[in-house]
Each structure stands twice: as C-alpha cells, then as structure tokens.
Symmetry: D2
Amino acid sequence: MRTGVWLVGARGSVATTSIVGALALRAGLAAPTGCVTELPELRGPALPALTDLVFGGHDVVCTPLTKRAETLADAGVVPARLVAALTAELTGVEEDLRPAPTGGSQADRAATLVRELTGFRDRHALDRLVVVNVSATEPVAVPHPAHADLAALRAALAGPDDVLPNSSLCAYAAFTAGAAFVDFTPSTGARLPALTALAAERGLPYAGHDGKTGETLVKSVLAPMFAMRNLAVRSWSGTNLLGGGDGATLADPAANAAKVESKQRVLGETLGYVPQGHTRIEYVEDLGDFKTAWDLVTFAGFLGTGMRMEFTWHGCDSALAAPLVLDLARLTAAAHATGHTGPLTELAFFFKDPLGAATHSLAEQWIRLGDFVRALHAAAGGADEPRG
Amino acid sequence: MRTGVWLVGARGSVATTSIVGALALRAGLAAPTGCVTELPELRGPALPALTDLVFGGHDVVCTPLTKRAETLADAGVVPARLVAALTAELTGVEEDLRPAPTGGSQADRAATLVRELTGFRDRHALDRLVVVNVSATEPVAVPHPAHADLAALRAALAGPDDVLPNSSLCAYAAFTAGAAFVDFTPSTGARLPALTALAAERGLPYAGHDGKTGETLVKSVLAPMFAMRNLAVRSWSGTNLLGGGDGATLADPAANAAKVESKQRVLGETLGYVPQGHTRIEYVEDLGDFKTAWDLVTFAGFLGTGMRMEFTWHGCDSALAAPLVLDLARLTAAAHATGHTGPLTELAFFFKDPLGAATHSLAEQWIRLGDFVRALHAAAGGADEPRG
Amino acid sequence: MRTGVWLVGARGSVATTSIVGALALRAGLAAPTGCVTELPELRGPALPALTDLVFGGHDVVCTPLTKRAETLADAGVVPARLVAALTAELTGVEEDLRPAPTGGSQADRAATLVRELTGFRDRHALDRLVVVNVSATEPVAVPHPAHADLAALRAALAGPDDVLPNSSLCAYAAFTAGAAFVDFTPSTGARLPALTALAAERGLPYAGHDGKTGETLVKSVLAPMFAMRNLAVRSWSGTNLLGGGDGATLADPAANAAKVESKQRVLGETLGYVPQGHTRIEYVEDLGDFKTAWDLVTFAGFLGTGMRMEFTWHGCDSALAAPLVLDLARLTAAAHATGHTGPLTELAFFFKDPLGAATHSLAEQWIRLGDFVRALHAAAGGADEPRG
Amino acid sequence: MRTGVWLVGARGSVATTSIVGALALRAGLAAPTGCVTELPELRGPALPALTDLVFGGHDVVCTPLTKRAETLADAGVVPARLVAALTAELTGVEEDLRPAPTGGSQADRAATLVRELTGFRDRHALDRLVVVNVSATEPVAVPHPAHADLAALRAALAGPDDVLPNSSLCAYAAFTAGAAFVDFTPSTGARLPALTALAAERGLPYAGHDGKTGETLVKSVLAPMFAMRNLAVRSWSGTNLLGGGDGATLADPAANAAKVESKQRVLGETLGYVPQGHTRIEYVEDLGDFKTAWDLVTFAGFLGTGMRMEFTWHGCDSALAAPLVLDLARLTAAAHATGHTGPLTELAFFFKDPLGAATHSLAEQWIRLGDFVRALHAAAGGADEPRG
Ligand SMILES: NC(=O)c1ccc[n+]([C@@H]2O[C@H](COP(=O)([O-])OP(=O)(O)OC[C@H]3O[C@@H](n4cnc5c(N)ncnc54)[C@H](O)[C@@H]3O)[C@@H](O)[C@H]2O)c1
Ligand SMILES: NC(=O)c1ccc[n+]([C@@H]2O[C@H](COP(=O)([O-])OP(=O)(O)OC[C@H]3O[C@@H](n4cnc5c(N)ncnc54)[C@H](O)[C@@H]3O)[C@@H](O)[C@H]2O)c1
Ligand SMILES: NC(=O)c1ccc[n+]([C@@H]2O[C@H](COP(=O)([O-])OP(=O)(O)OC[C@H]3O[C@@H](n4cnc5c(N)ncnc54)[C@H](O)[C@@H]3O)[C@@H](O)[C@H]2O)c1
Ligand SMILES: NC(=O)c1ccc[n+]([C@@H]2O[C@H](COP(=O)([O-])OP(=O)(O)OC[C@H]3O[C@@H](n4cnc5c(N)ncnc54)[C@H](O)[C@@H]3O)[C@@H](O)[C@H]2O)c1
Ligand code: NA
Ligand code: NA
C-alpha cells in the first residue's frame, strides 16, 4: 500500500526529522527506535511498510530540506552522518514540497492545496494519502458561525475574510481531496462541526490532537499511579523550558494558552479532581530542540501524611515526535483502507488532547490501541499474525 | 466477617502505622487515603469491613505500642492528635501482642506460635485469620535440603539446628494454625517447596513479596511507558536514602542484597533487556521514616538521540505501606473465604517481587487485581455491586 | 544595651517566628541555629545580647500572637512544644502589639506611629530602637514629586492623598522617632531621597532590602562559582512555588514584579552579563510555609561544550528569615550606637537587593560583614575579643 | 617564556582535550572559556602565553592522538570541526609523545623518563618544563620505608621491586630533570617525604591534588554558604554516575577509595563537623564523558526546622578539566620562574584535596590565588598591570 504523507509545516523540526528518519529506515541506516507500530504487539499486515511511505508537503518558509537537516544535525537532533548519507534522497523529497498557498480567498487557497494533493497522489500512484499537520501552533481560533455548518462554511470561504484557522483550512482541503487528516498540534484542525460533516460525507478518518511526547506523556502514567493507589494529589506544578522553533512560537502567550490547556486536561480527567498548581511554558533559546520539563507533585498518603515527587524530563522533542508521525500516518492510512471514518478515538495513545477521549491513562490507551490494531490486521487477513 | 490480622514485627513502623490507621478509620477520625480496596472500582461485599479487622501479633522488642505510636507522631508519620485520641484503643491492642517465641527447637517455637494464633482466633471469635510478616528484612536464607520436602522439614525442625529463616517459620506456623499468610518483606516466607505443600494440604492462600511503595512503584509505571513507546532505555541508576528502623536493617549488606535484587527485577522483565546501572540503598539516619530516592534514566529515541529523565521520590514509607497491609489482609481473607488456595498471583499489584508474576507493569497488575476482586464480589453474591 | 525591635507586620509568619525564637533562646529552650551573629567569627561585645531584645509592633490584622504561633506549629515551622512552653511570654509581647494606624492623613498616621514608638521606648526603658519591616510586600510604588525633598514630603503628607507607600511611611515614622530602620521586604522603605535626608538629619542608620533566604542565597554562591571558573552561563531559569501568606501576596502580579526583579539582579551583576531565562513565583497553597524553588542553569565550558546544573531548594522561609531579623536588629542597633548613619551597605550579606551593593557574591559580602562587625566590637572596646 | 607541558597519560581524555584546546586557542579558533588565568583579575605578564605552551608526554596505550580526538568529538566533548581543522597540529604533537617506559628497575624507568624530558626541553628550547599527571587514578599506594628518605629511595629504586606508585615515579623523574610537577589526580604523586626533599634540593615547585571539576566544586561553595548562615547540615549524600575511561578506572573499588576520600574532605573541614551520608562513584558506561552527580543535603534552620536541598550536576569532566590543566601549567611555570619551591598551597582553588590546604572554601581559595598571581605579576615587573 503506497501511502503518501503530506506534511503541513514540511520544513519544520518535526517534519524534517520524520523525513530524515523514514529515509534512514528505508536505507537500512537506522533502527525504528521510538516507532510504536514496530513493536511486536502491533506489527502486522494491515499497515503500510515504512518503505512504502512517500513524503510531500508545504510550508511558509523555503529553507532547503538538506539545510534544515544539517541544522538539526548540528543541534544533535539527528546524526550528521545520516544527513550526509541521505543528501540525494532529501533532494528527491524537496521536489514534492510546495510553498504555502497565499493570496486570494480561503476558497482559492484550499483549491490550490487540493490540486497539490491530487497532483502528489497521481505523480506517485499513491493508494492512500494522509495530511499531517506539524506546522507552528496557532493562537486559539476565533469562533465564526460558519464553523457549525458545511454549506455555510463553503459559502463563507469564498468571501473576502479568513474564516478558518490554517489548520482547519488544511483539514478542509485534505477531506475535499479524499485524504485522511492527522493533527499533531494543539490547533483547531478538524474539530469543527462543518469539517466533521465533511469527513463523514467523504468517508474519511481523522486523528488528533497534539502529540504527547514529554511532560504529558509522563503525567499520563504517573497520574494513574496515584489514582490506582488512592493517594490524594494535592498539587502538580510544571515548568517547561524549551528553545527551537516551537519554543519561539509558544513564547507567544496566545499559542501558549492552547498548549497549556491541553497539558492540564490529563490530571483532572485521570484523578477525578483538579489539584492545585499550573503548567508553564517558557522559551529559553539556549536549550534548542532539547526541552527540560520539571514537575513537582505533592500528595497525601495514609492519615494525611504529606509527601512529594519531582521529575526532570530532558527530551529532544523532535526525536520523540517524528516516529509518532510515521506511526500515525501508517495507522490512519490503514484505518482508512479498512473503512474507518470520523474521529479515530482509538489513537488517543499518541495525543495530549485526544479526540473523544475515554481515558487519559497511557496504559488504558495502549490497550485500546492494541485492540484497534489487531482488528485492522484481522481485517487485512494477515498471514503475518501479530502477537496477542 | 470478623478477620484477625496477626502482625509479625507488630511493634515496627509499618505495623504500628497500620494499627493506628485502622483504629482511626474505625473511629471515623480519618479517611481511607491510600487504601486501594476503598476505591469505587474495588469496593464490595466480599471484603471484610475495615471495622471488622482485629489486630494481634508478636515482636522481639517490647516497646509499648502507644510509645511507638508517639515516636511515629513526633517523626511526622502519623498525626499526634490521632495517637492522643486512640490511647485506649491502642492499649486494647497491646493485650493481643506477644513476645517472639525463643528457646527450644524451631518445632517448639512454631508450636508456641500456633497456640498463640489459635488463642487469638478463639478469644475474638474470628471467622478468618491472616498472618502478615512486617518484621525486619532477613539476610538471604541459607539453603537446606529439608526445604524441599514437608516431611523432611517437620523432622528437621525438631532437631537442634535452625532450619528455617524466621519468616518461613511464621508461614509454617500460620499454615499449621489454618491461617493465610502475607509476606510484605523480601524475606523467604512461604517460598519453599515444603511450605507450598503445607499450604496446599491445608487449603490456604498466601501472598507476597515485598510491598511496593516507593521507587519500584514509580518504576512499574515508567518502565512500561518506555516500553510502550519503543524507547531504548540505556541506563537506570537508583539511589535510595533512608533512615528509620528499616533503613538501619538494610544498612547491613546481607539484608540489602535481598532488597536490591527485588528492586531490579521490574526493569529486566518489563523492558525485555537489562539496562546499565544499579540500585543502591544507603542508611542516612537524619531522614528518619521519610525516604528520598533519586533515579536517573538515560534512553535513546529515534535515530539514537540520547535523552534523560530523573526523578526524586520523597515518601513516608510507613504511611505508604500501612494502607496496603490493610488491603492485603482484607483481600487475602476474602480469597480464603472464597476457596482460593496457594499463591495469590493476582495480588502482584502490591509487591516489588510478586509471586508467579506474569507482569511487572502496574497498569496490567491493576487490571488483574480488578478482575480478581470483581470475581470475589460476584462469589459473595454482592447486592452492593461494585463498579465495572 | 536594651534594644527594642518594632515589627511592622508583627503578626505575620516571619515576625511571629522571630518572636517565638527570641523567647525560646532567652528561655534556654533552643540553640541559635541560623543566627549569623552567634557565629564565633562575629560574636562580641558590641551587639546587644539576644536576651536584651524587647519586641513590639503593629499589624493590620489582629489574630492573637499565640494563635499565629500555634498555626505555625501545626505547619511544622516552629516546634509545638516551644509554643506551648512560651504561652505566658507570648501573651506578654501581645501587650506591645498595636493595630496599624488608619484614618486621617498620612501625617496623622505617622504621628500615631511616632507616639507608639516613643511609648514603647519609654515603657521598656530602651537604649536603642529598631523598626523592622516584615509586612506584606507592596506593589511597586507610584512615583510622587514630594519623594525627592523632605520639606515637600512633610507638606504633602498633611494633604488628603496618600503620598508614601506604607513601608516608607513606617521609615518616616521610625526616623522621626529616632529609631533605626530595617527593610526585610522588597518594598520601597527608606529608598527615597526625602527619607535619606531625614535619616541623615537625625543621624540614623538603615538597612535593606529583601531578606536573602532561598533561591537567591544559593545564586549568590553559585553565580560567583561560574564566574571564578570563567564558565559561560547561557541560561538560568527559576521557578519558586510557595504557599503561606507571603505566597498569597506574591500571587498578585504587582507585588510579584518587585520581588522577581530583585531576584534577577544578582546574576547580571555577578556575571557581568545577563544570561537567558527568567525567575517565576507561583502560589501553591498546599506548600504552606515551605517553598520549593527549582533552578536550571545551562553553561558552556572549554571549547563551547554545553553542560547543565539544576537544584531544588526546599526551605521553610520563615525559619530562614527569623534568625536574620534578630541578626539585623542587633547589628543595626550596634551600628547606631557606634555612630553609623545612612545606608548600612556592609549588611549586604543579608539581602537580595542590598543598598549600594558593591557585590552580590555572598563570600565577598561575608568578608565585608566580618570587617564591619569587628570594627563595631573594637569600638565597643570588647574584652570578649572575637575570633579573627 | 616557552613552556613545555609533559602530560603523563597523554592520550587520555583530559590530556587530549587540553592539547586540542590549546591548539585551537593558538589558531584563534576558540575562546578561552573555562581558563581561569584568562580572567581580567588574573591575566598579566608573569604567565607564559597560551601560544607559548608546547606539548609532549607519555602513555601506556598508543592510540593516535587524532584518533582519540575524533572519539572525543563523536562523544560531544570537543567540536568535530576543531579536530578536523587541527589534524596537522595534532600530528605535530604526536611526535613528542612516547610510550610509558617498561622493563628494568624503577631506576631504569625513571632514567628513561629523565632522558625524554631533557630531550623534549632541548628539542624545543624550552625555558620551563612542567610535568602534569593526568593518567588513570592509581589504587591507594602501599607504604614503603624508603618513602621517608631520599637516599633510601634512590637505593630502593635500583632494586628489583617496585617501590613507588607510577605517579610518584613521574614526580621523581620530573624533579630529577629539573621540571616542576602538577598532580591533577588523587594519586600519591609528590606527597612522600623523600620527594619533598628532592623538590627542595632542586628548588622546584609542585602542585596538587585531584582537579576540582564537578560535585566537589559545587560543594566548595555550598558548604561555606551553610556555614556562613549558621545552618546545621545534618546529612550530605552524593551519587556520581560516570562513564569514560576515568569512570571505568574508578569502578575499581581501590581507585574509587582514593577519590571518594578526597571528595569528602571538603565538608568536614568547612563545616567543622562531619554530617551523615556518603559519596558514591558508579560507572555507567552509557554516560560517556558526561558525568551526572546528584547530591542531597538535609539541614536544620532556626528552632531545628528541617529543610533540604538537592542538586544535579551534568558536566563534561574533560571539558572542565582541560582548561585547568593549561592554567596549572602556566601558573606553575611562572611560580618556578619567580623562585617558588615546594608545595604551591596557593593553588588550592584548583584541587579537591589541596596540598597544605588552609581552607576548602572556593571563595577563600580564590582570594589566595589572586594575591599569589598578583605577586607573580609584580615580580615579573608587568607593564601590562592586572586588575586589582
Ligand atoms: N515536537 C514535539 O514533541 C511536539 C509535540 C506535540 C506537538 N508538536 C507540535 O508540532 C508542531 C511542529 O513543531 P516543530 O518543533 O516542528 O516546530 P517548528 O517551528 O520547527 O516547525 C513548524 C513549521 O511550520 C511552518 N509553518 C508555520 N506556519 C505555517 C503555515 N501557515 N502553513 C504551513 N507551514 C507553516 C514553519 O515555517 C515551520 O517550518 C508545533 O505545532 C508543535 O506544537 C510538537
Ligand atoms: N515501609 C515500606 O514501605 C515497606 C515496603 C516494603 C517492605 N517493607 C518491609 O516491611 C518490614 C517492616 O518495615 P518497618 O519500616 O516497619 O521496619 P521496623 O524496623 O520499624 O520494624 C520491624 C519490626 O520487626 C521486629 N522484628 C525483628 N525481627 C523480628 C523477629 N524475628 N520476629 C518478630 N519481629 C521481629 C523489630 O523488632 C521491629 O519492631 C521490613 O522488612 C521492610 O523491608 C516495608
Ligand atoms: N520569609 C522569607 O524568607 C522572606 C524573605 C525575604 C523577604 N520576606 C518578606 O517578608 C515579608 C513578610 O513575610 P511573611 O511570610 O511573614 O508574610 P505574612 O503574609 O505571613 O505576613 C505579613 C504580615 O504583614 C501584615 N501587613 C500587611 N499589610 C500591612 C500594613 N500595611 N501594615 C502592617 N502590617 C501589614 C499582614 O497582616 C501579615 O500579618 C514579606 O514582604 C516577604 O516578602 C520574607
Ligand atoms: N576529568 C576531570 O574532571 C578530572 C578531575 C579530577 C581528576 N581527574 C583525573 O585525571 C585523570 C585522567 O582522567 P581522564 O578522564 O583523562 O582518564 P582517561 O582514562 O581517559 O585517561 C587516562 C590515561 O592514562 C593512561 N595511563 C594509565 N596508566 C598509565 C601509566 N602508568 N602511565 C602513563 N599513562 C597511563 C591511560 O592509558 C589513559 O590514556 C584521572 O586520574 C582522573 O581521576 C580528572
Ligand atoms: Na532534579
Ligand atoms: Na531534583
């Protein structure tokens, strides 16, 4: 199953790391560390092979991909020797990258995107196409009446004003072009009734929101631990220090707000109450692509005795995110192939703010993911039986 | 169901905190924070009520229980006002505490214990009796041929030499007296073929080993997190600084060895490989009953990028252990009542080194525990239906 | 030398801890841990004895001192047994506590304060009087032309508007009453030209600002370490989580601003450049009087190699501040007695934002303090020779 | 002043980083970050210029220097582009590296070393020569009667047995060849009466022991902070996790013992009492040349209130050590030129276990160092006056 992966923000850190990594895996130069779909529990016939992924995308900047890859190598995000070995392949992908559409109405820009997606699919004879948003986090979106209704939305897009945030315009274009959609960011994406209706109309699945790679990942196992042990969490305060392009964006309080909100959700929903404390994001340029998060948790045990835990997470965000982007592209393509439409709530495992989340516990999300993937493989009639 | 809880090491920190806590709960002076069996998911008719627990036990020291409780209050382990309010009740429990048997052969000492257990049961008209070992951790036991066979063991116990470590002698006495047995320590306890045979002969269940309350608890959620995300853990090094009676015992390298070993197991078994690094226990008197554990985890993500996580756990061991002792007494009594015999592998959730462990993942252990408890309640025919 | 200590904010945590501590020291119930003036290097004849300190003060609230002391004991700030043992003495001090003056012009309120200070001095036949501001941090003060000139200030105070922030009004009253003044808070206090002129006119010394007790104390030794080793600090980010009355005040961004600014100063002035990163204060009620600060420092070594240090400080602010309040009262009284007037820049050791600071390095401040104190003792003609 | 730097362990991490760094500084490719002698307070005419340093040395292994440098570049210790740019220069230094002498008596081996030192001096027309020991840490040395007396030592060296540890044999050879000696390791080096006598006889200075680069550096500012504030340190426990060649050596408990001992000294000597707790070194291969140290300090403040501080230090040992090696070579050469002989106690600033240490406080050591260096410059009659 030849699967196209169209990256919105294709020259960003996450996108570039995803592309370098997929090319390295294809060339046999790296192991799939961090790829969840390569675990024995999830591997199987339903998923497109990593070597079947074809990359395209668009971005508002036009730094050459090899240049971005070298910058990431200098920063220690990807090995320099890989980038050097993959120059030709990266130049190949460059041919499928486009500038972000500008000018005209949003309808015009959507039409441009649809043409590019269709062209990409035809050029590479793709069986499936998945659009993945890994562009900069948007400010919290401005509500608009047309968000509630597909016909109204279509009419409004043709008007002079911008009606949709960019992430939603991309989801709109994706669905219009018959592509599935994944939002790896906290932006609005497909989360509007009009877009939900469009996805249903076209029989397309979508997934999101906001890749779970650092502090929230840890929270999604620690908060259930406190809950399972009936320990009372009194306060949970977090500080996230990060540099990189994403850090610079999040230094903007508006973008920050969207992100901080999705980081907090896991606690209230797992514990059943909201402990004191807040999560903060601060831009510290020197940290580059490596983020340092520090969390302090105070809790009470038997007879009210006060205790505390703190952790420091020092992770390379792009190196944590990129393999998940590959996982999500594979899983969403397979879900599409198997006839799944609408929100893929079974992929909550991957997200900070999962669509229709039944649970924020990583372990429960894992079980749901396993069940889902095994069903995909069963539908695919897999000789290559995955491990129970 | 009136349930007796006979504590080996009845004047230690864990035992005293368990007793103070149970009395406080009975008197309505405290909430059951930290009691797993009080969670909505596990509550139900099969378990003896917390108010149905009756305490007895033995110890090698004879410090009055109220004295020990006051010391724990001074150290911030239990609230001073609770100890003051419960003086009468504590003095009541004192009447059921005995010195540890000394002199004679091990057969003689076992007989004394059996008499005490039987007397305790009769005195309080108990429906069930559970012996819980919360005495000081023993050195790794010396092997003996009689451990393999019940008849040989009975013969050897009558001889002049000590054949069994104390924890195993207590298990032997418990089984002989028709009591279930829980080992909250890393000592040998019931883990000898001769004792397994005895439990089977008497139709008795037992559980163990080594209550999971701190660093290992955290490991049992973090290690699965790394595994589920296909991240390669390169090293995991731990330092446990602790004071208190248990700390002093563990400063002895022999006792330490047993403990350190059970702390390491979770990693290899969860990850499928053993990362570099060691766990160390050090006695620091000033820390008292509060333990500080620090762990450093280094791991590789996509394309080998190195990352790290560290955590500090500052917990009051006895306040974490005591509610689990109550949970285990209730669960083991209910299992006995429902006809369970042999190792209760479904109670792995509570232990660092669980008997017949299928998994070291806390989340998976939680699922097994839930299934087990729901089955107990179903067998008990509960009107008071627990939550699915 | 009978020395009066008049506390502005006399029922706050720092004030109450200072009073309890001084009474406990006088009664021989505690050792002077944390009192810098009790170190062998600084002890000597010039300083009033701890037993010579007499306490008074005013506050806007009227919670009884014994009540406040009991609350602090419950929170673990002071030992409950001390509070119980000192009830009579605390009730004695209560007689010298007054409500904060209200109503009328600021001139009226200043006059009331002057009367109270004079009354206190007379009642106790005090040789010296020191007013110490330990009241809640004020918002950054609003500039006013009368701040620049003493005559203009006197005129303006009689008018209907509030011209001075409260801390400055207290300094004004102190100087008018012939008392020295110490500002333990980041508020304006004596830092106005008109008040400087008044202190000079009356020949009075003053000291400040903002007691250095936690994160900044640590910074004042770590920043010089990096400087002395010619290591390049790239970023220094701090998070201060605190509960307590002070925490609640500082949750107000206006008060917060004053504090955060004084916390940052040490870095730029010690390193000669300002590294990236910020310091944040967040109110977390559950932490009570114990503050947790976490700092991350990234730095470059030889050939630019990046490294990092992080520290967590878990301190009881009031227990750190109170002995310094006693030190400052003793030192300021002795300075006054020896004829020092104006800003006591030699006391920079005690402050986050020291008056006329020549240096922010704790070690250099320590040397200046030692020289100053030895000169005081020499002037006092000390038989009881301090250690060189 | 052309100054030779002969490195014992010349192919180790510290040595290689020192050489790469000095060559990079000479070529204008790097700034002297981490070089204490380049601070404005210490710069001046007495010190040989960094461009005047000439490198030689010996080692028991023969890995080419460029190879070692590349390995260090791969590990992130030195920038890869520097190593690439300096290949020719590194090959140049290679010509002055020798295998460690083997075979024969220790007298024979010493004679070989003396010949090599003399040859090095002649070949490069050196004004001064300093031997710096940066070889692997030795086990604690075995006492021998000949250590006490120079004549006895000379006689014993000619015998069949090894009398001196290698570090001391190097000091012996250095002094015999008229070279000054610096011991950057915890090994015995010049610390034997017979060698002290030899240095005196030849009018040579020497310095040591054990470069202070990580946890102990931090301790040497934090311990004085607690002391200056009269806070009572109750416990101080440290864990050092390190990989690299030095880590592997220190995994050997014998070498470890020497190191751990020198790490503990600072506390007792600074505080005046020894707090509870220990320091541990553990080898964790994955950490490579980057060390992670974690320290927990518990302390009591006013009225006994317990508090705590913890810090994590994540430093690249070789990048911290190398600039100090250059500093020590420059300072020792200048001291020799100015007529200093015997132990250079004024260089305590650089060492964990300084010779004849008057103080372990970094700030006090800094003052002594400044005085010493200013006197050197004054003696050198510097037009280029250093800052007071
Ligand atoms: N890295 C992680 O761990 C992680 C986790 C969760 C979410 N995310 C999200 O993924 C996104 C990408 O992160 P990153 O680190 O790669 O950031 P980045 O700043 O390196 O890359 C973002 C890219 O998006 C491009 N872009 C901006 N506006 C665009 C637009 N309107 N259309 C197309 N492209 C646009 C930018 O030019 C840039 O190249 C962010 O939204 C981030 O919040 C990342
Ligand atoms: N607290 C925890 O979180 C935790 C977790 C896991 C396991 N444990 C285990 O629980 C046990 C108790 O811990 P603690 O903190 O209460 O220790 P403790 O030292 O306070 O108490 C142990 C008690 O056992 C008694 N004892 C010693 N030998 C005995 C014997 N032969 N027979 C009867 N009594 C004997 C001692 O006198 C003492 O009163 C230890 O083995 C510990 O390793 C505790
Ligand atoms: N504790 C420390 O380590 C530390 C360090 C540096 C500075 N400080 C400063 O010391 C001050 C006191 O701290 P705290 O923890 O005791 O706070 P707190 O809130 O417990 O006490 C402040 C007291 O000031 C009183 N007050 C408020 N406004 C007043 C007014 N106008 N006149 C008189 N009294 C007034 C309050 O009623 C309260 O009793 C704060 O400004 C704090 O920033 C404390
Ligand atoms: N890096 C630091 O921060 C630091 C701080 C204080 C002390 N030190 C000490 O510096 C020394 C060097 O550290 P490193 O990290 O470079 O270690 P390393 O293992 O990388 O290098 C040591 C070198 O010494 C050589 N060697 C061993 N025995 C020798 C002998 N008998 N004669 C000559 N050479 C010999 C080895 O072959 C190796 O090349 C160690 O003793 C270490 O304890 C280092
Ligand atoms: Na930490
Ligand atoms: Na920490």
